[in-house]
C-alpha cells in the first residue's frame, strides 16, 4: 500500500451541473424530474400558529406569490449558486431588480455614484426617477476609476455600474472600484447582464450585489421578462452607521434587525420582506420556469455566442463599410487586458460598430438586414441589431448621448447562435444597402 495520502478536494457541484440541478429536490415534489410550475397565488397554512410563524419569519415557507413562489424560488437558488452568492431575489424584469436594490439600500437624502454608460432605461431611472424619491446620483465615466472615488459623498450609499457598459462596451475596473467602495464603507452593485455567471462571477472581483436582466442571455430565447438581484454575503452592514435600515430594529417586522439576524443574506431578506411586500414586482412562475429552461443550456449557448461574436469582430474589422469596431476581444480595445482578467471564458456577444456614412447609413443597414432582427433587446439566441441613438437611448439629449459614449453612426449588435456564414451574408445585404445612399448623394 502506498503511504501517500490522497489530497482532500471538495466535491461540491460544478457550474454545468448546478445549471441543471441547483435549487430543486425532486423527492420533495412528487418525484417530478422537471421543476413544477406552481401556478398559485397563495399557500395553505397548517394552523394559526403556522401562519403566524411564516409572517414573523420564524420559519421558511411561502405565504403569497407576490413575496415568494416555489418555482421562482428554484430559479433564485439556481442563480445564487451559479454566481457564488448567498441568496437571490427574482423580479418581474431587470429594471425592477435595479429599482428594488436601490430602494433596499437607500432612503430619501441618500446619494449613489453611478457609471455613465448604462442601458438608456437605467440612465433615466438614476437621472430622472430616483431624484423624485430624494435619491441623487453622480455619473462617472466607467473608465474613470479615480472619478468614482472623487464622487463619493458623506451620504453616498453605494456604487452602481454595468460591468461592460451598454452600448459602448467600456469596462469598469471592477476590482479597483470595489476597493474604492469598500474603503468608503459602501457596497458595489454590478449589473452583469451582458456576462452571465458563465463569463464572469463579479463576487470574485469584489462586487457585493449582482443584478441581471434574466430576460437576456440567462433565459436566452427572447421569450420571457425577468430580473434578479443576487447577494454576495461578504459586505458587513454593521461596520458603520450608514445603513440604519439594515442594522436598526425594523418596525415592519417586530423590531427585526436584518443584519444581525440574517448576516450574509440580510440584503435579500430585506428586499423580499420589505420591497416585494411594498412594491410587488414579482416574477410569474411561468416566466421563472422559462428562464430555468434557458439556464439549463447556459454554458452551451454562451460558448457559441462568444465564438460567433469573435468571428463577427474579425469580419467587421476587415469590412470596407465599417469605421470602427468595439468589442473587448479586439487587441486595441482600451479594456482588452482588463477583459482578459475579468472575462476569462469569453468576452461576450455584444459588439458596437460604427458604420461609414453615419446615421443615414445606419438606418439603411438596419432596414435591410433580414436575418438579424431589429428590436429593443439583447441576448436572444437570434442575432439582434439596433441603432441606439434612435432606439434604446433615444430619450437622451445630445450632451447625455455624448457623455454616455454614444455616437450617431453606432450600431449595437447582439450576436446570436445562428450559422456564422448566414449572419455574415445577411450583413453583406445590409452594408450594400447602406452604401447606396452615399453613392447617390456623391453623384
Amino acid at each position: 500500500m502506498s503511504d501517500k495520502k490522497k489530497e482532500l478536494k471538495p466535491n461540491t457541484y460544478k457550474f454545468d451541473t448546478l445549471s441543471l440541478h441547483a435549487g430543486y429536490q425532486p423527492h420533495k415534489n412528487a418525484g417530478s424530474r422537471q421543476v413544477p410550475i406552481y401556478q398559485t397565488t397563495s399557500y395553505l397554512f397548517d394552523d394559526v400558529d403556522h401562519a403566524a410563524a411564516l409572517f414573523n419569519l420564524e420559519r421558511g415557507g411561502h405565504i403569497y406569490s407576490r413575496i415568494s413562489n416555489p418555482t421562482v424560488g428554484v430559479l433564485e437558488e439556481r442563480v445564487a449558486s451559479l454566481e457564488g452568492g448567498t441568496a437571490a431575489l427574482a423580479t418581474s424584469s431587470g429594471m425592477s431588480a435595479i429599482f428594488l436594490a436601490v430602494m433596499t439600500l437607500c432612503e430619501a437624502g441618500d446619494h449613489l455614484v453611478v457609471s455613465s454608460q448604462l442601458y438608456g432605461g437605467t440612465v433615466n431611472l438614476f437621472r430622472l426617477t430616483l431624484p423624485k424619491f430624494g435619491i441623487k446620483c453622480t455619473f462617472v465615466k466607467p473608465r474613470d476609476t479615480e472619478g468614482f472615488k472623487k464622487a463619493i459623498q458623506k451620504n453616498t450609499k453605494g456604487i452602481f455600474g454595468e460591468l461592460v457598459g451598454n452600448p459602448g462596451n467600456e469596462i469598469m475596473n471592477m476590482p479597483e472600484i470595489a476597493k474604492i467602495a469598500h474603503e468608503a464603507g459602501i457596497p458595489l452593485m454590478v449589473d452583469a447582464t451582458y456576462q452571465t455567471p458563465y463569463l464572469c462571477k463579479p463576487f470574485e472581483h469584489g462586487a457585493d450585489i449582482v443584478i441581471h436582466s434574466l430576460t437576456k442571455w440567462m433565459a436566452g430565447h427572447g421569450s420571457s421578462m425577468a430580473g434578479i438581484l443576487v447577494e454576495g454575503g461578504k459586505f458587513d452592514w454593521m461596520q458603520n452607521d450608514k445603513f440604519p435600515t439594515m442594522t436598526k430594529p425594523y418596525e415592519g417586522y417586530h423590531g427585526l434587525s436584518f443584519a444581525e439576524e440574517f448576516g450574509p443574506t440580510a440584503f435579500t431578506m430585506k428586499a423580499r420582506a420589505e420591497g416585494m411586500r411594498d412594491f410587488g414586482p414579482c416574477l410569474s412562475p411561468q416566466n421563472a420556469w422559462n428562464v430555468l429552461q434557458g439556464i439549463e443550456t447556459l454554458s452551451v449557448r454562451m460558448k457559441k455566442h462568444c465564438s460567433n461574436a469573435e468571428e463577427m469582430v474579425k469580419y467587421l474589422m476587415s469590412h470596407e463599410s465599417v469605421a470602427w469596431v468595439s468589442h473587448p476581444s479586439v487587441p486595441d480595445h482600451p479594456d482588452h487586458e482588463l477583459a482578459k482578467k475579468l472575462l476569462p471564458n469569453g468576452r461576450g456577444s455584444m459588439i458596437a460598430f460604427g458604420i461609414k456614412g453615419g446615421k443615414e447609413a445606419g438606418v439603411a443597414f438596419i432596414n435591410n438586414v433580414k436575418l438579424a432582427s431589429h428590436l429593443a433587446n439583447v441576448g436572444d439566441t437570434r442575432t439582434l441589431v439596433i441603432h441606439p441613438a434612435s432606439g434604446t437611448h433615444s430619450q437622451m439629449d445630445e450632451a447625455t448621448l455624448k457623455f454616455a459614449g454614444l455616437s450617431h453612426d453606432m450600431i449595437r449588435l447582439s450576436v446570436g447562435i445562428e450559422d456564422i456564414e448566414d449572419i455574415k451574408n445577411d450583413f453583406e445585404v445590409g452594408f450594400r444597402a447602406a452604401r447606396k445612399p452615399r453613392l447617390v448623394s456623391n453623384q
Binding site: K5, E7, L8, K9, P10, N11, T12, Y13, H21, A22, G23, Y24, Q25, H27, K28, A52, A53, N56, L57, E58, R59, G60, G61, H62, S68, N69, P70, V72, G73, E76, E77, R78, A80, S81, G84, G85, T86, A87, A88, L89, A90, G232, G233, K234, M238, Y253, H254, G255, L256, E260, E261, F262, G263, P264, T265, T268, M269, R272
Partner: protein
C-alpha cells in the same frame, strides 16, 4: 443583545424579541467556525412563543469579542457563565455538532442548571481529519469548502433552502469565512480533536435529552450519535432521512417540529 462574560463582550441573537427575565431560557450553541445565524430557523419560533431564545456567538466568533476558547471544557464553563450573566439560574441547551460536545460537557458539569439538552448532529467524540485540521489551522479557505461539502447531504448540495432564495452552501461558507479561519475554525477543530470526555460526560446526564440525527451525516454519522444517546438515560432519538449534518437548515421545519415538542413538554414556556 450584548452582555459581558469573563470581561469580553458577548453577542447573542434573541430571535427578534426583547430579552425578558421572566421567561425560561434556551441557549443555542453553534458548531465549529460558525455563528448564531445557523439557528435563525429555530430561535425566532421559540422567541415568539414564551422563551428567551439566546443564540450565542462563542468568544471570537460572529459578533462576539474576545478570543476563541481553546477547549470544549472551557466552552462548557463559558456557557454556564452565560446563564449567570443574563441573570438566570437555569436553562435548556441546544447544540449542533461541536455545540453538542460543549452542551454535553456543560450539562454533566452543571446538572442543576441544565433542564433539557437537545443535540443535533452530535457524537461523543469528533476526531478531525488531520488534513482538514491542518488546512484550518493554516488559514486555508479550502478547509471551509471541505467542511461545507461534507456538512451537507446529497439533497442539500442541490439547495432547497426552506427560506426562499437562500442557497445553503454559499451562505454557510460566508458565515465560516466571516472571521479569520485559523482563529475560529482552526481553534474549534483542534478543541474538538482534543476532547476525549464526551462518553464519560454523557453517562452523568440525567435531564431529558433529545438527539436529532441525519442519515446522510458524514461528519457525525448516525451510529456515532446513537452511541452517545445510548449512554444518556432515557434519551430520545429522532433520525431524519435524506439529510446531512446541517439538519438545522437542510430540514429546518422537521427539526423545529421535533425540538418544539421536546422542549415545550419538558421545559414549558411562560404562558402569555
Amino acid at each position: 443583545m450584548k452582555f459581558r462574560v469573563n470581561n469580553s463582550e458577548v453577542y447573542a441573537s434573541t430571535g427578534g424579541r426583547p430579552f425578558d427575565k421572566k421567561k425560561p431560557l434556551i441557549i443555542f450553541v453553534h458548531g465549529s467556525g460558525l455563528t448564531h445565524m445557523t439557528w435563525v430557523l429555530q430561535t425566532r419560533y421559540f422567541a415568539f412563543h414564551g422563551y428567551n431564545a439566546l443564540a450565542v456567538d462563542l468568544p471570537g466568533h460572529g459578533l462576539s469579542g474576545g478570543e476563541s476558547l481553546k477547549s470544549i471544557e472551557e466552552m462548557a464553563d463559558w456557557v454556564s457563565a452565560v446563564i449567570d450573566a443574563v441573570g438566570h439560574k437555569e436553562a435548556s441547551l441546544v447544540g449542533h455538532s461541536q455545540g453538542c460536545l460543549v452542551t454535553v460537557e456543560c450539562t454533566s458539569r452543571y446538572p442543576d442548571k441544565i433542564k433539557t439538552l437537545s443535540l443535533m448532529g452530535g457524537a461523543g467524540a469528533i476526531p478531525m481529519n488531520p488534513q482538514l485540521l491542518s488546512l484550518a489551522e493554516n488559514n486555508d479557505p479550502k478547509a471551509v469548502d471541505l467542511m461545507m461539502d461534507w456538512a451537507h447531504g446529497p439533497a442539500g448540495h442541490f439547495g432547497g433552502h426552506p427560506v426562499p432564495g437562500l442557497y445553503h452552501i454559499n451562505t454557510g461558507t460566508m458565515l465560516a469565512k466571516s472571521r479569520t479561519i485559523q482563529n475560529t475554525l482552526g481553534v474549534d477543530f483542534r478543541a474538538c480533536d482534543n476532547y476525549k470526555n464526551g462518553f464519560e460526560a454523557a453517562k452523568k446526564i440525567k435531564c431529558p435529552t433529545l438527539s436529532i440525527l441525519a442519515t446522510d451525516d458524514k461528519m457525525c454519522p448516525v451510529k456515532e450519535g446513537k452511541k452517545l444517546a445510548s449512554l444518556i438515560e432515557g434519551s430520545q432519538v429522532d433520525i431524519i432521512d435524506n439529510c446531512g449534518h446541517m439538519m438545522l437548515l437542510e430540514e429546518a421545519d422537521r427539526v423545529l417540529t421535533v425540538l418544539k415538542k421536546f422542549i415545550t413538554t419538558n421545559y414549558p414556556p411562560l404562558s402569555s
